[in-house]
Symmetry: C2
Subunit: 140 residues, 2 copies
Protein backbone atom coordinates (compact mmCIF):
# COMPACT_ATOMS: atom_id res chain seq x y z
CA UNK A 1 0.00 0.00 0.00
CA UNK A 2 1.34 3.44 -0.82
CA UNK A 3 1.79 5.96 1.96
CA UNK A 4 -1.34 8.12 2.15
CA UNK A 5 0.84 11.10 3.02
CA UNK A 6 2.41 10.87 -0.45
CA UNK A 7 -0.91 11.75 -2.08
CA UNK A 8 -1.53 15.30 -3.17
CA UNK A 9 -4.62 17.20 -4.20
CA UNK A 10 -4.77 19.50 -7.21
CA UNK A 11 -4.98 23.30 -7.15
CA UNK A 12 -8.32 25.08 -7.07
CA UNK A 13 -7.13 27.87 -9.32
CA UNK A 14 -10.03 28.38 -11.70
CA UNK A 15 -13.67 27.43 -12.24
CA UNK A 16 -12.65 25.55 -15.39
CA UNK A 17 -9.99 23.56 -13.54
CA UNK A 18 -12.39 22.65 -10.75
CA UNK A 19 -15.38 21.77 -12.94
CA UNK A 20 -13.78 20.18 -15.98
CA UNK A 21 -10.26 19.35 -14.84
CA UNK A 22 -9.02 15.88 -14.02
CA UNK A 23 -6.95 16.71 -10.95
CA UNK A 24 -8.80 15.90 -7.75
CA UNK A 25 -9.05 19.25 -5.98
CA UNK A 26 -11.45 18.78 -3.07
CA UNK A 27 -12.72 21.86 -1.24
CA UNK A 28 -12.58 21.63 2.53
CA UNK A 29 -14.76 23.98 4.57
CA UNK A 30 -13.65 26.38 7.30
CA UNK A 31 -13.33 23.40 9.64
CA UNK A 32 -11.16 21.52 7.14
CA UNK A 33 -13.94 19.07 6.30
CA UNK A 34 -15.69 17.81 3.18
CA UNK A 35 -19.13 16.16 3.14
CA UNK A 36 -19.17 12.48 2.19
CA UNK A 37 -22.37 10.53 1.50
CA UNK A 38 -22.06 6.75 1.60
CA UNK A 39 -24.43 4.81 -0.64
CA UNK A 40 -24.81 1.10 -1.31
CA UNK A 41 -22.62 0.27 -4.32
CA UNK A 42 -25.21 -2.11 -5.78
CA UNK A 43 -28.49 -0.29 -5.16
CA UNK A 44 -27.40 3.35 -4.66
CA UNK A 45 -29.48 3.29 -1.46
CA UNK A 46 -28.26 6.16 0.78
CA UNK A 47 -26.60 4.80 3.93
CA UNK A 48 -25.13 7.70 5.90
CA UNK A 49 -23.75 11.20 5.61
CA UNK A 50 -20.50 12.09 7.32
CA UNK A 51 -17.36 14.18 6.92
CA UNK A 52 -13.69 13.68 6.07
CA UNK A 53 -10.68 15.88 6.50
CA UNK A 54 -7.73 15.84 4.10
CA UNK A 55 -5.88 13.17 6.07
CA UNK A 56 -8.80 10.76 6.39
CA UNK A 57 -9.73 11.30 2.74
CA UNK A 58 -6.17 10.37 1.73
CA UNK A 59 -6.31 7.38 4.05
CA UNK A 60 -9.66 6.28 2.55
CA UNK A 61 -8.02 6.37 -0.89
CA UNK A 62 -5.08 4.17 0.08
CA UNK A 63 -6.90 1.85 2.51
CA UNK A 64 -9.96 1.23 0.35
CA UNK A 65 -12.22 1.57 3.40
CA UNK A 66 -14.14 4.61 4.57
CA UNK A 67 -12.26 6.68 7.13
CA UNK A 68 -14.25 9.69 8.32
CA UNK A 69 -13.61 12.50 10.76
CA UNK A 70 -16.03 12.55 13.69
CA UNK A 71 -17.18 16.09 14.36
CA UNK A 72 -18.65 15.15 17.75
CA UNK A 73 -15.59 13.25 18.98
CA UNK A 74 -13.20 15.51 17.05
CA UNK A 75 -11.10 12.59 15.89
CA UNK A 76 -10.33 10.22 13.03
CA UNK A 77 -13.10 7.65 12.63
CA UNK A 78 -12.30 4.44 10.79
CA UNK A 79 -15.87 3.23 10.34
CA UNK A 80 -16.14 -0.35 11.60
CA UNK A 81 -12.93 -0.37 13.63
CA UNK A 82 -14.92 -1.00 16.81
CA UNK A 83 -18.20 -2.39 15.39
CA UNK A 84 -16.90 -4.51 12.51
CA UNK A 85 -19.17 -2.53 10.21
CA UNK A 86 -16.44 -1.54 7.77
CA UNK A 87 -17.30 0.08 4.47
CA UNK A 88 -15.29 -1.25 1.53
CA UNK A 89 -15.09 1.58 -0.97
CA UNK A 90 -15.93 0.58 -4.54
CA UNK A 91 -15.93 4.06 -6.03
CA UNK A 92 -15.67 7.69 -4.95
CA UNK A 93 -17.29 10.43 -6.98
CA UNK A 94 -17.02 14.17 -6.62
CA UNK A 95 -19.34 16.89 -7.85
CA UNK A 96 -18.97 19.88 -10.15
CA UNK A 97 -17.41 22.19 -7.58
CA UNK A 98 -15.62 19.34 -5.79
CA UNK A 99 -17.03 20.17 -2.37
CA UNK A 100 -18.92 16.91 -1.85
CA UNK A 101 -18.15 13.21 -2.21
CA UNK A 102 -20.25 10.14 -2.88
CA UNK A 103 -18.77 6.89 -1.60
CA UNK A 104 -20.21 3.82 -3.28
CA UNK A 105 -19.53 1.16 -0.65
CA UNK A 106 -20.11 -2.42 0.30
CA UNK A 107 -21.32 -2.28 3.89
CA UNK A 108 -19.96 -5.06 6.08
CA UNK A 109 -21.49 -6.27 9.34
CA UNK A 110 -25.02 -5.86 10.59
CA UNK A 111 -25.83 -2.42 9.30
CA UNK A 112 -24.56 1.06 8.66
CA UNK A 113 -26.39 2.89 11.44
CA UNK A 114 -25.46 2.82 15.13
CA UNK A 115 -29.18 2.12 15.77
CA UNK A 116 -28.51 -1.24 14.03
CA UNK A 117 -30.55 -0.38 10.98
CA UNK A 118 -29.19 -0.97 7.50
CA UNK A 119 -29.31 2.76 6.72
CA UNK A 120 -29.31 5.92 8.83
CA UNK A 121 -32.15 7.26 6.66
CA UNK A 122 -34.91 5.16 8.25
CA UNK A 123 -37.56 7.88 8.56
CA UNK A 124 -39.38 9.88 5.95
CA UNK A 125 -40.89 13.30 6.44
CA UNK A 126 -44.66 13.22 6.01
CA UNK A 127 -46.36 15.77 3.78
CA UNK A 128 -47.90 18.38 6.07
CA UNK A 129 -51.69 18.52 5.76
CA UNK A 130 -52.20 21.29 8.27
CA UNK A 131 -50.36 23.82 10.42
CA UNK A 132 -48.31 22.46 13.30
CA UNK A 133 -45.36 20.18 13.88
CA UNK A 134 -44.08 18.29 10.87
CA UNK A 135 -44.07 14.56 11.54
CA UNK A 136 -41.91 11.60 10.51
CA UNK A 137 -42.79 8.04 9.60
CA UNK A 138 -40.47 5.06 9.99
CA UNK A 139 -39.79 3.29 6.72
CA UNK A 140 -37.06 0.85 7.83
Amino acid sequence: MIDSKSLQFGPRDSKATIEEGLAFAPKFDEHGLITAMAVDADTNEPLMLAYMNADTLRETLTLGQAVYYSRSRKERWHKGATSGEFQDVIEIRTDCDQDALILRVKQRGGGCCHTKRASCFYRKVTTPAEAGTVMLEKVI
Copy 2:
Protein backbone atom coordinates in the same frame (compact mmCIF):
# COMPACT_ATOMS: atom_id res chain seq x y z
CA MET B 1 -51.52 25.02 -0.20
CA ILE B 2 -50.92 25.62 3.50
CA ASP B 3 -48.74 28.53 4.56
CA SER B 4 -45.20 27.27 5.03
CA LYS B 5 -44.77 29.64 7.96
CA SER B 6 -47.42 27.66 9.83
CA LEU B 7 -45.14 24.61 9.92
CA GLN B 8 -43.15 23.92 13.05
CA PHE B 9 -40.24 21.64 13.83
CA GLY B 10 -40.03 19.45 16.91
CA PRO B 11 -37.75 19.96 19.91
CA ARG B 12 -34.27 18.44 20.01
CA ASP B 13 -34.48 17.68 23.70
CA SER B 14 -33.02 14.19 23.97
CA LYS B 15 -31.10 11.60 21.98
CA ALA B 16 -34.14 9.30 22.16
CA THR B 17 -36.46 11.98 20.81
CA ILE B 18 -34.10 12.78 17.96
CA GLU B 19 -33.27 9.20 16.99
CA GLU B 20 -36.53 7.36 17.59
CA GLY B 21 -39.10 10.13 17.80
CA LEU B 22 -41.64 10.97 15.13
CA ALA B 23 -41.48 14.75 15.33
CA PHE B 24 -39.31 16.22 12.60
CA ALA B 25 -36.56 18.02 14.51
CA PRO B 26 -33.93 19.01 11.95
CA LYS B 27 -30.56 20.25 13.18
CA PHE B 28 -29.30 23.37 11.47
CA ASP B 29 -25.60 24.17 11.67
CA GLU B 30 -23.99 27.37 12.93
CA HIS B 31 -24.95 29.02 9.63
CA GLY B 32 -28.58 27.92 9.99
CA LEU B 33 -28.23 25.31 7.26
CA ILE B 34 -28.90 21.59 6.83
CA THR B 35 -27.32 19.39 4.14
CA ALA B 36 -29.71 18.05 1.52
CA MET B 37 -28.72 15.41 -1.04
CA ALA B 38 -31.02 15.09 -4.06
CA VAL B 39 -31.23 11.65 -5.63
CA ASP B 40 -33.30 10.34 -8.52
CA ALA B 41 -36.55 8.96 -7.08
CA ASP B 42 -36.56 5.97 -9.42
CA THR B 43 -32.91 4.92 -9.50
CA ASN B 44 -31.47 6.49 -6.30
CA GLU B 45 -28.72 7.93 -8.52
CA PRO B 46 -27.14 10.88 -6.65
CA LEU B 47 -27.86 14.17 -8.42
CA MET B 48 -26.54 17.03 -6.29
CA LEU B 49 -25.72 18.11 -2.77
CA ALA B 50 -26.92 21.44 -1.48
CA TYR B 51 -28.21 23.17 1.64
CA MET B 52 -31.51 24.45 3.05
CA ASN B 53 -32.32 26.82 5.85
CA ALA B 54 -35.44 26.48 7.99
CA ASP B 55 -37.51 28.72 5.71
CA THR B 56 -36.59 26.98 2.44
CA LEU B 57 -37.05 23.57 4.05
CA ARG B 58 -40.58 24.57 5.13
CA GLU B 59 -41.21 25.95 1.66
CA THR B 60 -39.97 22.69 0.08
CA LEU B 61 -42.48 20.80 2.23
CA THR B 62 -45.46 22.89 1.19
CA LEU B 63 -44.46 23.52 -2.44
CA GLY B 64 -43.44 19.95 -3.26
CA GLN B 65 -40.39 21.24 -5.16
CA ALA B 66 -36.84 21.60 -3.91
CA VAL B 67 -36.04 25.05 -2.56
CA TYR B 68 -32.45 25.36 -1.38
CA TYR B 69 -30.38 28.13 0.13
CA SER B 70 -27.44 29.20 -2.01
CA ARG B 71 -24.34 29.63 0.14
CA SER B 72 -22.46 31.44 -2.64
CA ARG B 73 -25.26 33.87 -3.49
CA LYS B 74 -26.52 33.96 0.11
CA GLU B 75 -30.13 33.75 -0.96
CA ARG B 76 -33.14 31.49 -1.39
CA TRP B 77 -32.72 29.23 -4.41
CA HIS B 78 -35.80 27.68 -5.95
CA LYS B 79 -34.05 25.13 -8.15
CA GLY B 80 -35.35 25.47 -11.71
CA ALA B 81 -36.90 28.93 -11.32
CA THR B 82 -34.52 30.31 -13.95
CA SER B 83 -33.46 27.11 -15.77
CA GLY B 84 -36.73 25.16 -15.79
CA GLU B 85 -34.89 22.32 -14.09
CA PHE B 86 -37.30 21.99 -11.20
CA GLN B 87 -37.08 19.06 -8.81
CA ASP B 88 -40.44 17.57 -7.88
CA VAL B 89 -40.02 16.07 -4.44
CA ILE B 90 -41.35 12.53 -4.09
CA GLU B 91 -39.99 11.85 -0.61
CA ILE B 92 -37.75 13.43 2.00
CA ARG B 93 -35.84 11.29 4.46
CA THR B 94 -33.83 12.29 7.46
CA ASP B 95 -31.10 10.41 9.29
CA CYS B 96 -30.61 9.19 12.85
CA ASP B 97 -29.44 12.52 14.26
CA GLN B 98 -31.63 14.53 11.90
CA ASP B 99 -28.80 16.67 10.57
CA ALA B 100 -29.02 15.54 6.94
CA LEU B 101 -31.78 15.13 4.38
CA ILE B 102 -32.22 12.94 1.31
CA LEU B 103 -34.61 14.32 -1.29
CA ARG B 104 -35.91 11.69 -3.67
CA VAL B 105 -36.86 13.81 -6.67
CA LYS B 106 -38.04 13.72 -10.24
CA GLN B 107 -35.68 16.01 -12.10
CA ARG B 108 -37.34 18.12 -14.75
CA GLY B 109 -35.63 19.76 -17.72
CA GLY B 110 -32.31 18.90 -19.30
CA GLY B 111 -30.32 17.89 -16.26
CA CYS B 112 -29.57 18.60 -12.65
CA CYS B 113 -26.11 20.12 -13.05
CA HIS B 114 -25.37 23.64 -14.29
CA THR B 115 -22.79 22.00 -16.59
CA LYS B 116 -25.81 20.44 -18.36
CA ARG B 117 -25.06 16.95 -17.17
CA ALA B 118 -27.76 14.76 -15.65
CA SER B 119 -25.91 14.64 -12.32
CA CYS B 120 -23.32 16.83 -10.62
CA PHE B 121 -21.36 13.68 -9.74
CA TYR B 122 -19.89 13.13 -13.20
CA ARG B 123 -16.32 12.31 -12.17
CA LYS B 124 -14.89 9.47 -10.16
CA VAL B 125 -11.69 9.56 -8.17
CA THR B 126 -9.16 7.10 -9.54
CA THR B 127 -7.36 4.72 -7.20
CA PRO B 128 -3.89 6.13 -6.64
CA ALA B 129 -1.16 3.79 -7.88
CA GLU B 130 1.76 5.97 -6.87
CA ALA B 131 2.67 9.14 -5.00
CA GLY B 132 1.54 12.42 -6.51
CA THR B 133 -1.65 14.19 -7.45
CA VAL B 134 -4.84 12.16 -7.23
CA MET B 135 -6.65 12.15 -10.55
CA LEU B 136 -10.29 12.07 -11.67
CA GLU B 137 -11.99 10.28 -14.55
CA LYS B 138 -15.19 11.44 -16.23
CA VAL B 139 -17.95 8.87 -16.04
CA ILE B 140 -20.87 10.93 -17.43
